[in-house]
Symmetry: C2
Subunit: 158 residues, 2 copies
């Protein structure tokens, strides 16, 4: 098993209207009309060339309020849709922000790119959340070409 640790440096930060976790939507897609800004570190500006041609992008974010390896999130957690049942599932079967590596994945709509600022729709990130990467959304590689099953989520949503 690899024992090396890896180091990441934020490439930017998001500005949203959500200043505390309880008020922040749990998924960007559930808040599609809300707008946010991604302020890119100017040294990466050339990397944005061509992004505005895409309608959607993934924001890979750093969700670590506790940004060190001493914080250990629970490996079994109760996701929001299972709160009534108080049913726990493994963290790798959830989209919980409290993960062994607190890396977030948000699908957002690209509304505009001006200089080093990306205006986006669909906000599930706290104001000030560091961004690690931006990837264009490409349906041919990001959508399965077969039927999907959603395990415990199918149980509650039918």
């Amino acid at each position: 098993m690899a024992s090396t640790d890896f180091t990441l440096r934020p490439v930017g930060v998001v500005r949203t209207r959500f200043e505390d976790l309880p008020s922040t939507p749990t998924q960007a897609s559930l808040q599609r009309d809300d707008e946010g800004l991604l302020e890119l570190d100017p040294r990466y500006q050339d990397g944005l060339d061509g992004l505005s041609g895409f309608s959607h992008a993934w924001l890979v974010s750093w969700l670590g309020q506790a940004s060190d390896l001493e914080f250990t999130p629970a490996l079994r957690q109760v996701p929001n849709p299972l709160r009534d049942q108080q049913r726990e599932v493994g963290v790798f079967a959830t989209r919980s922000p409290l993960r062994p590596n607190p890396v977030g994945l948000s699908l957002v709509r690209i509304l505009g790119v001006e200089g080093t600022v990306i205006r986006f729709g669909g906000v599930d990130l706290l104001d000030g959340t560091p961004i690690l990467d931006i990837k264009p959304y490409i349906p041919s590689i990001d959508v399965p070409d077969e039927a999907t099953r959603q395990g415990w989520l199918d149980d509650v949503t039918g």
Copy 2:
């Protein structure tokens, strides 16, 4: 601009038949029938509970052959589909593995979970690639509910 660096620790490693980069498919979805194994660090085993109920998952991987911050990938690159034209676009408008933070995102089919080993279909990762996170694929949050545009990629694929 945030100046802090963040540290990640792999939660597992993949075993695939691809032992050098030139032979490795560029996207998991292009190699859907190929199978790989994810060997999870046993300390995270409880986190897998419930994952086998999902048909697909995201593997968040560490693509850094040069796993330090000294390596600086080009901010403009020629993606494979634009090689004939030798046309460069910004790295954040591509899925190139050479990124400011070399974090990969692969959509895979879950074929089975036994103990700490996940058997998956759809391989775009080199044998031995460290895995940072596993997230269930959830169409309601991972698929836009509107038409999409793929910028430069639409130009070449029509």
